[in-house]
């Protein structure tokens, strides 16, 4: 991380708050209410984002939607191609996913490979009615036919850049989203 420098800021703390406010409303709209709705954060940044969205849905609708988390390391398609060894995180889906409208939550949508792995992981737990995707930032460059249903911000990036999301739950002093390049 230290060899990266910021190319441009995408959202400050207030920007992320407002994006999440809007995303929460869109999720409820998309589902026509909160019935059978469940949020699943993709490890790591998707986990606190799922919690934040659930908090907002609770405030707006007065309903606790079930939340879970999944780690997709064991479903990745790139673990044997010489990348550094991945870290395996916790998977917790304490509700029955069958018949749910399940929303996968991640911070950044890029190639789509993480989402592909997440779809496989979730389906091993049951048969949801439908699966939706909500991401804070869509940065383009898809390598698979995958699209998000709810997006916080769509940004144009080049492949040499990375998008970094900072969240207070993950140890950042302040929320923020920025495009980074090699220094």
């Amino acid at each position: 991380m230290s060899q990266l420098k910021m190319a441009r800021r995408l959202m400050d703390s207030g920007g992320i708050q407002r994006a999440l406010d809007r995303m929460a409303i869109q999720l409820v709209e998309l589902n026509e209410g909160t019935e059978n709705l469940a949020l699943v954060g993709i490890h790591r940044a998707g986990v606190p984002l799922a919690q934040r969205l659930a908090d907002r849905i609770k405030r707006a609708e007065g309903v606790d939607v079930p939340i879970g988390m999944i780690d997709i390391t064991l479903y990745r398609d790139d673990v044997f191609i010489g990348l550094p060894q991945p870290v395996v995180g916790r998977t917790e889906l304490d509700f029955d996913v069958t018949n749910c409208t399940l929303v996968l939550i991640d911070d950044v949508l890029y190639t789509g490979r993480t989402v592909r792995a997440a779809l496989d992981a979730v389906m091993d737990f049951g048969r949801p009615d439908s699966i939706r995707l909500a991401v804070l930032v869509d940065r383009g460059h898809r390598e698979l036919p995958i699209a998000a249903d709810v997006v916080g911000a769509t940004v144009k990036t080049s492949k040499v850049e990375t998008v970094e999301i900072e969240l207070t739950e993950m140890g950042a002093a302040m929320d923020g989203a920025a495009v980074m390049v090699k220094a």
């Binding site: 060894q85 870290v87 395996v88 995180g89 496989d120 091993d124 049951g126």
Partner: protein
């Protein structure tokens, strides 16, 4: 919380001797994640699809082999198996020749159990597959000690500073040796007790304390680990009879009284009921014997996962 394999770059798992605290902790953390998979409705992940694990058991084993088999299948690896009775070792082929033939079939990981100490180490120098030691003679049985440590950590929250009594036939026990290496590295106090004929000279140099009676060992113990009397491994002159052994070193409810109230009782299996442990204790509230079996699968998944990365990455 995340469990890293970042600390883990194994070529082989031959023993716990020399393995440091960071690596043991990382392996146990990863095992904890693997355990979640066994609790799912669909107990399988595609992680090791296309990898082949070969079981080469020159010495009889039921649970260890099955445990490795379940572990490999939960990770979607393919498995093949060769046992001594059906193999050409019986026809006079050397260990290395047999192993070279196995290797020619292209396994990524070879899990071996052998009656000779050092057999896995020997093969690791000659084969390109990753070797897992599933028990070599009286030497080491690293996955058993890892699953024991996982079980202790799960039940008692830590390993450091715990008093662990290991009781029985220490001389013939690879389980004891691997546990001594692992537990002392993790900062536990290990006390050993058993008939004098079954305590090898110099075992205290590995960092464990030898005490004369079972009562000395269980006094204030957080963990009591009973070893199986290995009838197949000893001459009849080591102790007079099963009953005599039970009278002196068998774990009874009475003998647990001086241990800590929440003491856990462990046994690597198979149990000789009424010899080293009474049924009352083995099936009692302090027993974690079946947890050990469950955790064995998780630990072996973690080991296979880490080794598969090595075979995939390096070549």
């Amino acid at each position: 919380m995340t469990a890293g394999t970042g600390e883990l770059t194994f070529d082989h798992l031959l023993g716990l001797e020399g393995m440091d605290q960071t690596r043991i902790t990382a392996l146990l953390d990863l095992s904890q994640r693997m355990k979640e998979i066994g609790e799912r409705p669909l107990k399988k992940v595609p992680s090791l699809r296309g990898k082949t694990v070969c079981f080469f058991f020159v010495e009889p084993s039921t649970r260890t082999k099955m445990s490795f088999g379940v572990a490999a299948k939960r990770l979607s690896a393919d498995t093949m198996s060769l046992t001594a009775s059906g193999s050409s070792l019986k026809k006079g082929e050397t260990l290395l020749d047999t192993a070279m033939n196995l290797q020619a079939m292209g396994p990524d990981i070879l899990v071996i159990r052998h009656r000779a100490a050092g057999a896995p180490h020997f093969l690791s120098k000659h084969l390109s597959a990753s070797i897992v030691n599933a028990g070599d003679g009286r030497h080491e049985h690293p996955t058993q000690a890892l699953l024991d440590m996982l079980t202790i950590r799960e039940r008692l929250g830590r390993l450091e500073g715990l008093n662990v009594a290991i009781i029985g036939d220490i001389a013939n026990s690879r389980v004891a040796r691997s546990n001594i290496f692992g537990l002392t590295t993790m900062g536990a106090n290990v006390r050993l007790s058993g008939p004098a004929t079954m305590i090898p000279k110099g075992i205290d140099q590995l960092g464990a304390t030898v005490v004369p009676s079972i009562e000395d060992a269980t006094d204030g113990a957080d963990v009591v680990m009973m070893l199986r009397i290995q009838k197949e491994r000893m001459g009849s002159d080591l102790f007079p009879s099963d009953r005599e052994y039970h009278r002196q070193f068998g774990l009874t409810k009475d003998r647990l009284r001086n241990a800590k109230p929440n003491v856990i009782v462990m046994h690597p299996g198979p149990i000789n009921r009424g010899v080293e442990i009474t049924p009352e204790v083995a099936d009692g509230p302090n027993s974690v014997i079946l947890d050990q079996v469950t955790n064995g699968v998780a630990v072996r998944m973690a080991v296979l996962y880490v080794l598969a990365h090595r075979t995939g990455g390096a070549k």
